[in-house]
Point group: C2
Chain length 366, copies 2
Amino acid sequence: MNHNITSPTLLLDKKKCLRNIEDMTDKAFLNKIALRPHFKTHQSKEIGNWFRDFGVKAITVSSLKMAEYFAEDGWNDITVAFPTNILEINTINKLAQKIQLNLLVEDIDTIIRLQDKLEYSVHLFIKIDVGTHRTGIQAYKKELLTSLTQQIDKSDKTVFKGFLAHAGHTYHAREKEQILEIHEESKSIMLELKEYFLPNYPNLILSVGDTPSCSVADNFEGLDEIRPGNFVFYDVMQNFITSCSTKQIAVALACPVVAKHEDRFEIVLYGGAVHLSKDHLYFDKGAKFFGNIVFLEENSWSDPIDGMYLASLSQEHGIIKASQEYFDKVNVGDVIGILPVHSCLTVNELKKLVTLDGEIIECMKS
Amino acid sequence: MNHNITSPTLLLDKKKCLRNIEDMTDKAFLNKIALRPHFKTHQSKEIGNWFRDFGVKAITVSSLKMAEYFAEDGWNDITVAFPTNILEINTINKLAQKIQLNLLVEDIDTIIRLQDKLEYSVHLFIKIDVGTHRTGIQAYKKELLTSLTQQIDKSDKTVFKGFLAHAGHTYHAREKEQILEIHEESKSIMLELKEYFLPNYPNLILSVGDTPSCSVADNFEGLDEIRPGNFVFYDVMQNFITSCSTKQIAVALACPVVAKHEDRFEIVLYGGAVHLSKDHLYFDKGAKFFGNIVFLEENSWSDPIDGMYLASLSQEHGIIKASQEYFDKVNVGDVIGILPVHSCLTVNELKKLVTLDGEIIECMKS
């Protein structure tokens, strides 16, 4: 299948990808929770369509530009899971005219400025910080949260939709139990909030959903919606934190081998930071790695090779360190596969995927 | 000047950029050495044209695709400073028909395969490893080097052009003296090679040129060509390793402020890994940072602010840590500037620059 690959190419195993989508939609169905998948991972109208086949009707994105891209393709219920950027009010109004737009707020000024400039109504989630400390308000700040809901109520342009959290600190987990602990803690924070605000807002919903929690947890009682994104492809990071097996990773960067250095058992790839991004992980012994190595096969790729790892990246170069055994198996002119550490950023770099059948899947362009 | 900025926008101070180009062309002229600038930093036909105004006629790129992009714009002497990827032989032939194409080799098989498949002649540099240990052959391996030159001589499709090195280990320097030491060592390695091979190849040239060495060094005697690239914009990394002052940094990413967290003096930006890449540096005390913060001014931007730094990045978010003083000066809805750690990767993410006069400069698209 790699006969026509001459430069770094992001391969997609469509079967694995569809299986990942099916598993997550099944899980949401069985748990009676809405699935609003995050589309920032694939950024592709075509892959968006595959979700439609599994009954998905509402989505999450990470920018207004991405919301516009998917709205063009008929998605009409979109949450922008990013603090509302009031400077983009024109785009917000354009989208709000056309679709059900759900935005995130975490300060009163932004709500007031939205109410002043909105021409169409939007739903607002208040972002809750359940421990990641990136954005959001801590749940114990009831007075602040109440003042925000009250401000939202002052205009019919803004409708309070509920509370939204992203437990991104699951990415520091290294065992299932750690993920589950964070999930349970986040859930109890959110459920307590719901209990507190439900009397005044009987329709409020709780939206959560990082890929690690959604992959590992089995109890979502009381929550209303999950928003995982990365699971569509998974990656080495997710495998590292026990969210998935390596067999579930649905993308691999195919890279030509351009040089070998026997004195240090290094293999030089055409494939660098402009393809994989610089996200990396550390082995127990402290060495950095930027991806797992796989051999490309007729209709898929191998399991990760234990005797090789992607040790460094510059703009266009990747350097594999190999055992002598594997060093000898790889030749200049071969094409080798890299399972990326972070599939979202890799897709964002390539903006195009190629299925194992040679079908080209375009993503949103910058 | 930032009135129309609503989303992450890469600003270019054209005056600083032209001054950087002028300084380097002056330096090359005074040192009687050819300047073949690396265009991977800007990847823009328009900025390429600015170099023409300073007399530049030959360029360096990091991929065949980039060679095609600039060849379209009339550049007819291009070195691809990357190990030759034999799988792209069709592109090589297309380019070799049209322009003077200079390629890098470091193994005999690639030379043989080139000779077998080339339809037009190319010039070949042998890549020398002067200590970076990324690619290339160590200069003491005279037998291997001789066998490569002899193989090159076997076909009139391949012309031995000389030796090429990239002393990328200057990027680990933290003082001018360290850069100069690496430059002198690399130079002596290369000069010794020239002396050895000159009797058989009287026209061979030596090509070197990382931005740190070319910015700091003043002695290039015996060398024939330099290929710096990053100097066109410079960045925080170059400032960190003493290659430039912060006033020479010609690009800044303008980012909307979307949230503030007073309890931890953090400011949340719309501007993340998909804009800046994940390249980072470490303060003396060990904390990571992803860029310097500047205030945008009428026709430029301020010096870097000591009381703030870009502490973390996720896909679309950037988190600034600030002193209380600066925390209070920045408001949600403001636009703030980030001097990038690595301008090459930042330009590659944005693929578009906007000058302080509002002129849009397009770069090569993926």
